[in-house]
Amino acid sequence: MTDANALLQLVPKAEGKQSMKDFKSDQEVRWCPGCGDYAVLAAVQGFMPQLGLAKENIVFVSGIGCSSRFPYYMNTYGMHSIHGRAPAIATGLAASRRDLSVWVVTGDGDALSIGGNHLIHALRRNVNLKILLFNNRIYGLTKGQYSPTSEVGKITKSTPMGSLDAPFNPVSLAIGAEASFVARTVDSDRKHLTEVLRQAADHPGTALVEIYQNCNIFNDGAFEVLKDRQRAEEAVIRLEHGEPIRFGADGSKGVVRDQRTGDLRVVTVTPDNEAGILVHDAHSASPTTAFALSRLADPDTLHHTPIGVFRSVERPVYDTLMADQLDAAVEQNGKGDLAALLAGGDTWTVVG
């Protein structure tokens, strides 16, 4: 049994067959019509029956922002918390309750701006959390300020002459923060989104899934280049473990390693260079190539944007280690005896 299976075994299975309907709460969904969040919600609700876990043992924890309303719409346990803190709250829950499947729903502002610290520490600890980061490259709920993933020069209400600061690349950031599982997907690609969710759910430890999500009110079309069938062919690189990294019409383009710098670049595939096309290895112990893949995309045009699982490696899981220490302490010292603890070593007796 792999570690992944062992962790999933701790969460009770559902009795009987579940359907998407079982995961819909009775609350009216209140996102703007046309919001990408609807697609993600439907994908998650549709995917949950595949997991087959008892829904009372599933918890969605979110921060603040449009996407963070997500838990209200899931008929599981849920907490809509405060801005940026969901990974910290979920860490306490997951570390103390290993029989739960804990999911964090967050956005680019929530996870990368106000909550940046909690995100990177959750990733480094490798707590058993699945983090869905809805990235729409804008602040929606506060009505349209630029976000930490907005492209430089973004004109918004708070940046009428254009934003000045360089954006984060969430996948690069996660890999740099020692994440053991990092993936990217797109709201409108239900099949791809579901497949990435499945892999994230199977992963022991923290899984970060960046979901490109369209805000049709404040940043409409931000990912259009990845969605438009014609343009996407040239823009999107679909990563699949064990497969050569090729894209474009008929796989006419590919990714190779530059022998001089070690960096990655895109080439037109020819019979001469075909053998040198990089084969994607998501399980590589070194994060180097996964990081290089995350740097392929042009932050402004999104050309050469890889989607799929960048990195998926097994390493010790925080909550497992914590539970092991508790077991070891009982083994070494016996189950705690309160009276003995209170008495301590040096005592004296006063007789009446």
Partner: protein, 643 residues
């Protein structure tokens, strides 16, 4: 937990009582009723350890005692400087005492800086033991002594014992294979041995302690024990120490029982472990290191075999966040911090108020504002605990009064949190945290039952008869909502910081509902059942009431004893519950012509009391990082009585 029996003894200045004994050829032995000793040296001289050991010896001998460690925030401040002086004061007696004492009878000064920094606190006639080896010209000049205070007559009013502690220690350890520097390190044990001889302290405990502490370095253990014994023997043989002192065990001060010495942070840690056991819930601590609270994190980390999970978070916010997550999952959740950490946690405390989940917020107060005085004590977070959040966000506040009382206060805070499903502040402070006193070890069978019932099924029937679970349907008595933990089938629900509809817990922006929810949250806290305030007013004729809270209990009670000993009538009451106040507080205050509120802040409790009860409470304040001195407090109260 000293006995509450009133005694006038604390007003005496360590006066010699009883007979003097002198066996033939032996030195004088005098009996004292109490002694205050202060050990002072460089931060690296091991003064805290020396004080701790003397305290343990004294505790096992059966004296009542109270301690005051006092050290700089720097780990190793520049050697030989005034800011680098670390000290440990211990007051022990043959009767019950309440404070570490105002003025030391004995000062052990390991260097000129320690002498200079502390001599001003000594009454005339006090004994001063100095390590003459450190009184070099350069070391003295460093702290502004132009001439040697050991020779220029400036210490004529004191009983000075010049002892070359370093030389004697090195000499005593010459048989050991140690460098001079290594040997010198044992000079604190030499001093401890000398003081242990002077006050007839038992020695086995310290020798055993040294053997255990240096179990992996038996040579170092042996050297320290040799230095300790050499100090003892030096006292026994040298002419300079003609007298030794006995302080009899405080047998009558203590109710029967088994006792140990305990510091506030240790008692608080044990209280949390006990609360977890009594609630039958696993303990989860989310914390970020901060002085003077870190010792609780350290202590709880050692008790994983009690099912205690300790989580050292990336910051204060994550510390309380993780705790709140664990509370949602059904743990007894705690976060520990000091004032600056509370500021960072405020938003999450507000969320806990809105979620109505049990959560303990332990604030070991220190000097503020901002970073302030990390190692010094203060009571200036009361209003932060009461009001430091956005919106109407009432939180109960409980405060321990002595180091040992931190145990009971932790249990009481847990009771309120669990029964009423609310975050609760436990306001300790640096003085209680690091100070220590004897503690009667409670019988675990006597501890309160804190068990709670998690929600197990539907709690509401809709009009059509459907059984549903409403996460915000309240207990009519306590107004607490059900605690339904994930993993319970059929009770899936969502909670959050947005205003909720009464009952269903669904998001609601309805004006009338918000007004109702705000008032209901307040009513739940206001309705918490807390015991009535007890007033100590022995003859019933007092016109002045002293009202305190928290760690001022010791100094206030000592001051009140002094006044009563001098024939004054004064009443005393001490608050454990700051929110809600005891139901009878208004009536108690109305029963006195004058109310004085001594606090280590600028009048925060006084402000609350004046606002709520419209009484003309007067503040007496001290904000110097140190506890009140009983004598000064007594003088201030006397002035108020006569006013």
């Amino acid at each position: 937990m000293t006995s509450q029996v009133s005694s006038t003894a604390e007003q005496a200045d360590g006066a010699v009582v009883g007979e003097q004994r002198k066996a033939a050829g032996a030195k004088d032995v005098r009996r004292l009723d109490r002694v205050i000793i202060r050990f002072a040296g460089d931060s690296g001289d091991g003064m805290q350890l020396t004080g701790d050991r003397f305290t343990s010896e004294t505790a096992s001998f059966g004296n009542d005692l109270s301690t005051l460690p006092n050290f700089p925030a720097e780990i190793r401040a520049p050697a030989g400087t005034l800011p680098g002086v670390s000290s440990f004061q211990l007051h022990f007696a043959d009767h019950d005492i309440l404070t570490p004492g105002d003025a030391p009878n004995v000062l052990v000064a390991m260097n000129p800086a320690a002498l200079r920094a502390n001599v001003g606190d000594l009454p005339r006639g006090a004994e001063i033991i100095v390590n003459t080896d450190e009184f070099t010209k350069r070391a003295m000049q460093k702290v502004g002594y132009d001439s040697s205070p050991l020779e220029d007559g400036s210490l004529d009013g004191y009983h000075l014992h010049p002892v070359p502690l370093t030389t004697l220690t090195v000499e005593a350890l010459k048989e050991f294979d140690l460098t001079r520097k290594e040997a010198e390190r044992s000079k604190n044990m030499f001093a401890l041995g000398l003081l242990s001889w002077m006050y007839h302290r038992p020695t086995e405990g310290t020798e055993k302690f040294l053997r255990t502490k240096f179990a992996k370095k038996p040579d170092i253990a042996a050297a320290n024990i040799a230095a300790y014994r050499a100090g003892w023997n030096f006292g026994e043989t040298t002419e300079d120490f003609a007298v030794s002192y006995e302080v009899a065990p405080a047998a009558k001060a203590f109710p029967p029982g088994v006792y140990r010495n305990i510091s506030g942070n240790l008692a608080l840690s044990y209280g949390l472990v006990a609360a977890s056991r009594q609630a039958d819930l696993p303990l989860f601590l989310g914390s970020y290191p901060i002085t003077p609270a870190s010792d609780i994190l350290h202590e709880l980390s050692r008790h994983k075999n009690f099912g205690v999970r300790t989580f050292q978070a990336e910051d204060e916010i994550a510390g309380i966040g993780a705790a709140l997550g664990a509370a949602f999952g059904g743990s007894l959740a705690v976060t520990t911090t000091s004032g600056p950490g509370v500021a960072l946690k405020s938003e999450t405390i507000g969320l806990a108020v809105s979620l109505e989940l049990p959560l303990l917020i332990v604030d070991i107060q220190r000097g503020g504002p901002s970073t302030g005085l990390p190692t010094k004590t203060e009571q200036a977070d009361l209003l932060q605990a009461m009001y430091g959040r956005n919106g109407e966000a009432p939180v109960p506040v409980v405060a321990p009064r002595t180091p040992a009382d931190c145990f009971d206060a932790a249990l009481e805070a847990a009771r309120i949190a669990l029964e009423y499903r609310t975050p609760v502040f436990l306001l300790s402070d640096g003085y209680l945290a690091n100070g220590s006193e004897p503690w009667r070890i409670p019988d675990t069978e006597e501890l309160p039952d804190l068990r709670v019932r998690f929600a197990q099924g539907p709690n509401h029937a809709l009009d059509d008869g459907t059984e549903v679970f409403w996460p915000y349907k309240r207990d009519p008595e306590t107004l607490a909502r059900p605690w339904a933990v994930p993993g319970t089938p059929g009770l899936e629900h969502r909670i959050g910081g947005i205003e909720k509809q009464d009952g269903t817990g669904n998001i609601s922006y309805d004006p009338a509902n918000h007004d109702f929810m705000v008032r209901t949250r307040q009513a739940r806290i206001d309705g918490i059942d807390v015991p009535d305030l007890e007033v100590d007013d022995p003859d019933g004729t007092a016109r002045l009431l002293v009202l305190g809270w928290g760690s001022t209990y010791g100094p206030i009670t000592a001051a009140v004893r002094r006044l009563r000993g001098a024939g004054e009538s004064v009443a005393q009451a001490h608050l454990r519950h700051l929110n809600p106040f005891p139901r009878n507080l208004g009536a108690v205050l109305a029963g006195y012509d004058k109310v004085v509120v001594p606090e280590m802040n600028l009048g925060q409790l006084a402000t609350l009391v004046r606002a709520k009860y419209l009484v003309d409470a007067r503040s007496y304040n001290q904000v110097n990082g140190m506890p009140f001195k009983a004598e000064q407090l007594a003088a201030a109260l006397k002035e108020a009585i006569d006013d």
